[in-house]
Amino acid sequence: MVDGLTQDFATIDGRVRVLEHVSMQIQKGEIVGVVGESGSGKTTLGLAVIGLLDSPPADIISGSIVFEGNDMLKLDPVELSRFRGPGIGMVFQESLAALNPVYKTETQLRESIEVLRKAQKLDITEGAERNMMIEILKDLRLDKPEVVLKKYPHELSGGMRQRISIAMAIVEKPRLLILDEVTTGLDVYVQNRILTMLRELNQRTRTTMILITHDLTVASQICDRLYVMYAGRVMEEGRTEDIVNAPIHPYTQKLMAAIPQGFIEAPPLPAPTGEAPDLRSLPTGCKFHPRCPFVMERCKENEPPILETSDGRRVSCWLVEKK
């Protein structure tokens, strides 16, 4: 659970507020999606949960992150590192950067297995290790795993690298898995395979997952609940069906409207007006108001807190208050 997390980042232009009062509750076994454009703060949120924010330049000002009863922000680095791996795992966005370029795949996978071994005090022989590696690569539908194991990261395609990153995280059987844009830049076919595999994993092992993406379609495919983020704040949260079928927040509505519905005779897609805000110079009041078709005077001055509608939906918008 993330509560009221507020975090700044030091840039050349001074302090920039990257996250503000972000709260999330996540049930065990859920797949939660965090959706937003670049700059919405979603990656930073992910890094914060696993405790991998580099402390200069990032600075967490207030809030807490509680995992399995522990306030992560209060732990010292050594204790924190014990949670990583078998506790919380993370897969990063740029797969080429995420893998160490000088080690072969098999070496890097073996590292993960070693962590598992130490954590659970298992005894795994070399042969067993190799089998584990091949098994997991097969699960991820990689052809010729034996060949892949011997290759270096730069010799593999993006899709394969991404799956290897996922493999490294999964092998350690994490209780919480954070996936940051793992489908971006991949062709749809591979995307699909990865998402399907993730859902299977979730159903099989009840691994809790946080899926961070900018693509609503991806999120809607496997997530149980969604959090929509904009300019470092949560704009809307709720069950996926609810949000997709009846988005309440104007921003969510725009995101939904921009999704192509297929080759039907439809009018041209409404492109959202304006651009994602520059975090260094945010507008006053509700951060979305310059682009909002329903903007009211109140929106320009006061930022709406998370309000609950009569049917239990939670949105950060003044429109909801009226209902």
């Binding site: 001074g14 000002i61 509680v66 930022e303 807190p305 998370i306 609950e308």
Partner: protein, 315 residues
């Protein structure tokens, strides 16, 4: 895109580091002194750096002779000041010429590519194999001694690193989108190169060149020390050390002062160069700024009314 807007912050960044400010100061002072000397000569030194005064030779440092006198009675302090234009001028000339040559060749190789690239790089690799010693011989044997000749023989071996640097930079920049856009818009050749590519490689060349002046200075002084290329009587920091190297134990100051000044000069350029390098490195910048006081003041969290949310099944 073009990093012109960064130049203001650039200066701020360089000065934020105490060491590089020191470097800047050293460089400015020494350049100023050498310019003054070049203009006014004896006017600014306590004694004539060239006048022989055998009765006053080998005096230890004193109030009247800050650094003492050398074996021919010349005041060392004055000679050090006299040496500045040479010990700064030569390296700066070397670096200037080498960098210009390097920029020209590097841009040709990087931008034009193909056969030009191959040829330029092979020649560059060839010249990279020359150790300084070769150049030493080149000076002595071919051209005879003299400062201009010395400069030329340095440049002969000095230019290859610039070609590599520039070529690498050009390759990086040329791959960027804004170049493709310019080409699509049919901008002139000149326009692309001068306005597009050049400003983006200048920072890295500048950094390297600053540090390189220091290195060149060292090499020049070593040549002077060995007595090669630079005529023996010249006031040059290396020569001054070399001329006393056999009688060190009796008159150590005659060597120590010039040598230390050399070191200080190189240190000055090095600090400045390091500061420039850090300021240009985008990744490192936030860390430099993070230390500033302005940063700490604004860490306030705005009050916000929140609906109490009951935590449900927590992980």
């Amino acid at each position: 895109m073009l990093k012109v807007a960064q130049s203001l912050k650039f200066r701020q960044l360089i000065l934020s580091n105490a060491l590089s400010t020191l470097g800047l100061v050293i460089v400015i002072i020494s350049v100023a002194l050498s310019v003054l000397f070049a203009l006014f000569g004896r006017g600014i030194t306590p004694y004539d750096p060239y006048a022989l005064n055998l009765q006053q030779s080998n005096l230890p440092p004193s109030i009247s002779h800050f650094f003492g006198t050398d074996f021919q009675g010349r005041d060392i302090f004055s000679r050090v000041i006299a040496a500045l234009p040479i010990d700064l001028g030569l390296p700066i000339a070397i670096v200037l010429l080498s960098s210009l040559l390097g920029i020209f060749l590097g841009m040709a190789a990087g931008y034009l590519g193909g056969a030009v690239d191959e040829v330029v790089m092979r020649v560059t690799d060839l010249f990279l194999a020359f150790p300084t010693i070769i150049m030493v011989l080149a000076v002595a044997a071919t051209l005879g001694s003299g400062l201009a000749n010395a400069t030329l023989s340095f440049v002969f071996v000095w230019w290859p690193p610039y070609v590599r640097l520039v070529r690498g930079g050009v390759l990086e920049v040329a791959a960027e989108d804004f170049i493709a856009i310019s080409k699509a818009l049919n901008s002139s050749f000149y326009h692309i190169i001068v306005k597009g590519i050049l400003p983006n490689i200048i920072p890295s060349v500048l950094t390297y060149a600053t540090l390189d002046v220091g290195t060149a200075l060292l090499e020049v002084s070593i040549l002077g020390f060995l007595g090669v290329g630079i005529p023996p009587g010249t006031p040059e920091l290396g020569v001054m050390v070399g001329s006393i190297s056999y009688n060190l134990y009796n008159y150590p100051w005659q060597a120590l002062f010039p040598a230390f000044i050399t070191m200080i000069l190189v240190v000055g350029f090095s600090f400045l160069g390091e500061g420039t390098r850090e300021a240009s490195d985008v990744k490192v910048r936030p860390y430099i700024l993070f230390k500033g006081k302005a940063f700490k003041d604004k860490a306030k969290v705005p009050q916000k009314e929140r609906l109490p949310v009951t935590p449900q099944g927590v992980i």
